[in-house]
């Protein structure tokens, strides 16, 4: 119990605790802070500060590269929303089967197969996916990106959904069926609403993972099709301009927003 802890054994009293914490926080957040601050720099330089300006944000939307970035952003969001939706649906069904399917043979193997992609180096998945599309003669384009994203987003969506579902006792569905609900009604009226916080978390996680994916996207995208990460990479190759910092800051904003939503969804319990 927290209250029973004496100050002596509190980890905060360990020597070097504060310094270690500060170093970790610095390493993690200093680059992000720098990028965010310099995105408001009035200068063309990315290292010298010449005063506050929204110039580079305007440049992203109306500057010479704006068409390229807008098209890439549109692709990114369409792919992220579609892939996250598909992955979440599949993950929800998979979680239902895994958690409610009883002890079927190969259950452990199935769980391994679903979560293995999280452990496989992304470059391997990228190469494998590319070879697969080539082998079946699938023309690379936005559809290949969508399929690849849907596939690798499934484990990300699956984890929060199955975690939520494991916390739901099966007596609720039994009670529903005892009260004249058939299997479908027990699922839609009882299980699905109870799973909803997990499903929303899963969707948001899949959305973010898809939105910022670079390696797999870069392998399976067709010529001329760009997503935001590949477009940013393309323009960084020609030298870093402050407009990249502005885009990065906006992406950071989207991520923070999504994570915040996810946090409040998991906090807000529809059972209270």
């Amino acid at each position: 119990m927290a209250t029973a802890k004496t100050a002596k054994f509190d980890i905060k009293s360990y020597r070097g605790f504060k310094a270690m914490t500060l170093i970790c926080l610095f390493v993690l957040y200093a680059p992000l802070v720098v990028v965010t601050i310099y995105s408001f720099n009035a200068s063309n330089s990315i290292t010298t500060w010449e005063g506050f300006s929204l110039h580079w944000y305007a440049d992203v939307f109306i500057g010479p590269d704006s068409d390229k970035f807008k098209a890439a952003a549109f692709n990114s969001f369409v792919i992220a929303i579609t892939a996250a939706t598909l992955a979440t649906s599949i993950a929800t069904l998979a979680a239902t089967a895994m958690v409610r399917g009883g002890k079927f043979r190969l259950r452990t193997v199935s769980f391994g197969l679903i979560s293995l992609p999280l452990m496989v180096p992304e470059i391997v998945t990228a190469v494998a996916t590319l070879i697969f599309f080539n082998a079946i003669g699938f023309d690379r384009g936005i559809l290949t990106i969508l399929l690849a994203h849907t596939a690798f987003c499934i484990p990300f969506a699956y984890l929060p959904i199955s975690a939520r579902m494991q916390g739901i006792e099966d007596s609720y569905e039994q009670a529903a069926m005892d009260l004249y609900a058939n299997r479908r009604q027990a699922f839609t009226r009882i299980l699905l609403p109870l799973m909803m916080p997990g499903i929303i978390s899963g969707f948001i996680l899949a959305f973010i993972v898809s939105l910022d994916d670079f390696i797999i996207t870069n392998f399976v995208k067709g010529a001329g099709v760009e997503t935001l990460p590949t477009a940013i990479f393309g323009s960084v190759k020609q030298g870093i301009k402050p407009n990249i910092m502005a885009i990065s800051t906006m992406l950071l904003g989207v991520s923070v927003l999504m994570v915040t939503i996810s946090y409040f969804v998991s906090k807000s319990d529809n059972t209270k």
Binding site: E169, S171, Y172, Q174, A175, A176, M177, D178, L179, Y180, A181, N182, Q185, R189, I190, P193, L194, N270, T271, K272
Partner: protein
């Protein structure tokens, strides 16, 4: 018994030679029992005796491996749970946490095809019956355990099931609330006239509420009867030991004559009791004598008397338990009510005295 007039003779649930096996493990070994319409029927036994399995087979959550289950004459063992007109009060209540109390209670009606408005109206009436109307708009987590218990009851009763199944519904409540709910359940059963099948491991609860009790152990039916039958005339060792406190003695049956069995307790002590079918002369069996059926005196009383010496007195609130050792024979526990204290003396340890009982107090057990 007075309850016999209230219970109509129609059979509500008929379990015929039901067997339940999980792989190699047999949870239920060929059980047959008939539960009457309008009866408060209890399945009593220690955990793992198969009582909950039998209840879940009636509800439809477990398949019947062999045999059949009939509801008012109709075979139901192949119907899925949602097509059986029986409802369950679950041990953990299983109230839908995302729905209000009113929607919880109305759920069964709605699934049965009532309009939302009708379901709510009837749910409101049910909440009135269990005195929880003021909580209709709340979520289950905002209610206390006792209130949740009553909501679970209202939800299960709302669709007017033919039979209500109750799976240890009082086990999570504290003692006082449990006692109050026992009475409330009994009254509710009388008012609604619905057949109740109640599962519990608490023998006192079973004795208090039931019209009839089926005592189960290790997947088998040990005894079926009214609470007084089970308590006063236990059939075997298990029932005598499981229900209440008792003196279990090893005896040998010396002689049987005119419906009486004369038994030897060891140390030269003899005791006469009613004969029991299946126990003949020469049998080595057990005998059960309830401690409260014994009384002590300085001189042998009319009826059966045994001579002994007081070992110890133990104060247990309403009663005093006295441990008496027969001369070279077994120990007895004698229970004396504290309300009799004024006109009875307490025998101090070491005192020589007699233990007395009427003829029917001792019961021979089939092992």
């Amino acid at each position: 018994m007075s309850t016999d007039q209230e219970i109509t003779r129609e059979i509500a649930i008929d379990v015929r030679n039901a067997v339940k096996r999980y792989g190699d493990f047999t949870a239920l070994k060929q059980i047959s029992l008939s539960i009457m319409d309008n009866e408060f029927f209890t399945l009593l036994g220690p955990s793992g005796c198969g009582k909950t399995t039998l209840l879940r087979m009636i509800a439809g959550f477990e398949d019947v491996t062999e045999g059949g289950i009939y509801l008012y004459g109709d075979e139901i063992e192949n119907l899925p749970p949602h097509q059986r007109p029986v409802n369950t009060v679950f041990q953990n209540y299983a109230l839908f946490p995302h729905m209000t109390i009113l929607d919880n209670v109305g759920f069964g009606l709605e699934m049965r095809g009532s309009s939302k408005a009708d379901a709510r109206k009837r749910a409101g009436e049910m909440l009135e019956l269990v005195q929880l109307s003021q909580f209709a708009a709340r979520k289950p987590s905002q209610l206390s355990g006792g209130q949740q218990q009553r909501v679970a009851l209202a939800r299960a009763l709302a669709p007017q099931p033919k039979v209500l199944l109750l799976d240890e519904p009082l086990s999570a409540l504290d003692l006082k609330l449990r006692k109050a709910m026992q009475l409330e359940l009994k009254h509710l059963q009388r008012e609604t006239g619905i057949t109740f099948i109640f599962v519990t491991h608490d023998q006192e609860e079973a004795l208090t509420m039931s019209d009839r009790i089926a005592v189960m152990s290790a997947g088998e039916l040990q005894q079926l009867g009214a609470p007084t039958d089970i308590y006063e005339r236990p059939h075997n060792m298990f029932v005598a030991d499981f229900i209440g406190e008792t003196n279990l003695l090893e005896v040998s049956v010396d002689k049987i004559e005119a419906g009486r069995a004369i038994c030897h307790l060891g140390g030269g002590h003899e005791l006469t009791c009613n004969e029991v079918a299946g126990i003949g002369t020469g049998a080595q069996v057990h005998m059960s004598i309830r401690p409260e059926r014994l009384f002590m005196s300085e001189q042998p009383a009319k009826g059966e008397s045994l001579h002994g010496r007081v070992k110890e007195n133990i104060f247990v609130g309403t009663d005093i338990s006295t441990i008496v050792a027969l001369d070279e024979g077994p120990d007895f526990i004698v229970r004396t009510s504290n309300s009799d204290r004024g006109n009875k003396r307490i025998f101090e340890p070491g005192t020589e005295m007699y233990i007395n009982m009427e003829l029917g107090a001792a019961r021979l057990l089939v092992d």
